[in-house]
C-alpha cells in the first residue's frame, strides 16, 4: 500500500566551477557557510565547523513564498574531495531528504584546474496522486536554486582571492 502512495524522486544539476576541487571542497565543507552560497539558507543557526561524519548543523530556510522552515542536517558520508552526503529533516511534505555533492577535477585546455560539481537532492513524497504534481513544482524551484547555489559557490571562491 505504502509503495503506491510514497514515491522516491531525485533532482540533479551539474555545473563547472572554475576553481580547483580543493578550494571547492573547503567551502562546501564549512557548515557555517551555507547561508553564503545556498540561496534557500537564510541563516545557519548552529554548526560544527568543518563537516564531520555523524554530526549535525541547523538552518533557517526559505520555504514556499514568504514561508520559512527550520531544518536539521546530519552529515552521512564524506569522501574527501569527491563526495559528501547529508540528510535533512524539516522540509515537509518532503520526506527523507538527502543532499549529495559530488566533485570531479577537470583540467582545462589552458592547464587551469576546474571542478565538475553534481548537486543532487533526493526525497520521498506522499500525497498520493498529488505527489507527482507537487514534485514537478518542487523540482523546478530546486533546479533553479541548485544552479544558483553553484554559481554563488564559484563567486565566493573567486571573491576570496588567491589563498596565501
Amino acid at each position: 500500500m505504502k509503495g503506491t502512495l510514497v514515491r522516491d524522486y531525485t533532482v540533479s544539476e551539474q555545473a563547472i566551477i572554475p576553481h580547483p576541487v580543493r578550494r571547492v571542497w573547503d567551502v562546501i565543507s564549512a557548515t557555517h557557510r551555507y547561508a553564503e552560497w545556498v540561496p534557500t539558507v537564510l541563516e545557519v543557526t548552529d554548526h560544527h565547523g568543518t563537516a564531520e561524519l555523524g554530526r549535525t548543523y541547523r538552518e533557517h530556510n526559505k520555504s514556499l513564498g514568504p514561508l520559512t522552515t527550520r531544518s536539521v542536517w546530519t552529515v552521512r558520508e564524506i569522501e574527501p574531495l569527491a563526495r559528501r552526503v547529508d540528510t535533512g529533516i524539516g522540509f515537509a511534505p518532503l520526506q527523507d531528504l538527502t543532499n549529495v555533492f559530488e566533485f570531479e577535477p577537470i583540467i582545462r585546455g589552458d592547464g587551469s584546474e576546474s571542478t565538475l560539481m553534481t548537486y543532487a537532492v533526493q526525497y520521498r513524497l506522499g500525497l498520493g496522486p498529488l505527489g507527482p504534481l507537487v514534485h514537478r513544482v518542487v523540482a523546478a524551484g530546486l533546479r533553479a536554486d541548485m544552479t544558483r547555489a553553484m554559481d554563488n559557490l564559484a563567486d565566493v571562491i573567486l571573491a576570496e582571492g588567491v589563498p596565501s
Binding site: 563567486d155 565566493v156 573567486l158 571573491a159 576570496e160 582571492g161 589563498p163
Partner: protein, 454 residues
Amino acid sequence: MRRTDVVVVGAGLAGLTTARELTAAGRDVVVLEARDRVGGRTLNHDLGDGKVVEAGGQFAGPTQDHVLALAKQVGVETFPAHTRGASVYVHGDRARRYRGDIPPDPLALPDLGIAMRRIDQLARKIPLDAPWRAPKARAWDSVTFESWLRHTTAGTGALDLVNVLLGSAFGGSAADTSLLYSLWYIAGFGNETTPGTLERGIGVTGGAQESRFAGGSQLISQRIAEELDGRVVLGAPVRAIEQDAGSVTVKSDVDTWHARHVVVAVPPALATRISWRPLLPPQQDALFSRMAFGALMKCEAVYPEPFWRADGLNGQAVFRHPSPICSMFDNSPPDGEPGVLMGFLGGPQWHLWAARPPRERRAAVLRVFAAAVGKPALRPVEYFEQDWVGEEWTRGGPTSVPGTGVLTELGPWRDRPFGRVHWAGAEHSDHWNGYLDGAVRSGETAARAVLGHG
C-alpha cells in the same frame, strides 16, 4: 622633567586644532601622541603613484564650516564625492537603481517618511547644549531609538533603513542608544544658523557626504603637524596625569612634562585609562566609561578603473539588513584612477564578521559590492580593511554611543574642565558630534577655554 604652557594629549584633528589655536595665541604647546603618526581616526591608505584613499573619517559637507575652513587654511582642497549616475538599493536578492538619497523601497517608504518627519520635529525640540533639558528628556532617554521606531512605524522598513545610517554613523544600531541621544545627535547635523536634519546627515549632495579632501583627510592633520614644527611628539602614550592647584604633570612613555594646562583630546573611554591624581570626578569617569565606541571596519576594494561608472552607476549603494555591508561609496581618487569601492561594516554585522577568517570576510564583502555594481567587483587588484576596533589608541569607531539613561544622568559632565584639564575630541562637540567637523569645533572650544583661564 620638561616645561611648557600646555600639553595636548592626542594628535588627532581635535588635539592638533587645539595646539594650532594655542600656538597662534602665543602659548608654548607640546602635543603627545601615542601612535607613530598624526591624524587619529583619519588615516590615508597609500595606493601608489602618489595617490591615497581614506581608511578613516573622510567626508565633509554643508554646515561643517569649521573643518572646511581649517582645510582651506592649511591648503587642503576638497572635491565632490562622485555622484554622477544611479545609486543602487539592494534588498535580499533584488537590486534597484535610484536617484537621490532615499532608497526606492515601496513598502518601507511610507514608514520612513513618517519616521523622518517625526524625528526632525522632535530633534528641533532638543536644546543642543543641554539635551537633558528637553521637554521629555527623561522619558526619551529611557527608551531606545529602536523601541521608539518600532512604536512609531508599522513595519521594520524604517528601522532597517535608519540602521543603514547608524551602521556607519554609530558603528551600531538603533538598539544601542536612547531616543534622546539619537535626536540630539541628529539635531547636531547643522550649525549655529541652520538646524540639523536627518536628511543632511544621510545625504551626499547637500549632505554630510558631499565632499572629500584631495590628498586624503589625514593630510589636514599632517599639514597642522608641519606647522607646529617639532611640537608634536610621536610614540608618546600618556600614562598618568597629576595636578595640584598650580600645575599639571603629564607622564608619557617618552618624557614627563610640567604644564599650566592640559587638553586631553583622546576618545573618552581611553581617557579613563590614564592614571589620574587626583582621580577623575566619579561622574565624569562614569560618563567617559559609558561613552565607549561603536564597532566599525572600513572595507575597500581597488580596481584598475571605476568600471561601474561606464554602466551608469555612481558607486553608491544601500544594503538593507542583514547584509554585512550597510552602505557603499565610490572612494576613487579625484581623477578616477584607480577605482575604489568602500563599504562600512559596522555594529551587529561587525560582531558577526570580525571574528571570521579574513578570506571569508573578503568574499562576503566583495559579493555585496558585486550585488550592487556587478561581478567585476569580485576581482579587485587590491583589497584592504581598516578595523578601528583593533586600533589600540582608538578601540572602536567611528564615535561613542552612550546607552539609555546616560545623557540625562551624566551628560552635563561631558565637557566640564577637571581642574587644569580640558577636554577635546569629536565626542565633545554639540554640532556634528563624532564627525571631522565636531573634532575641529571641540579643539577650537578647548583652546578658547584654556586661553580664558589665562
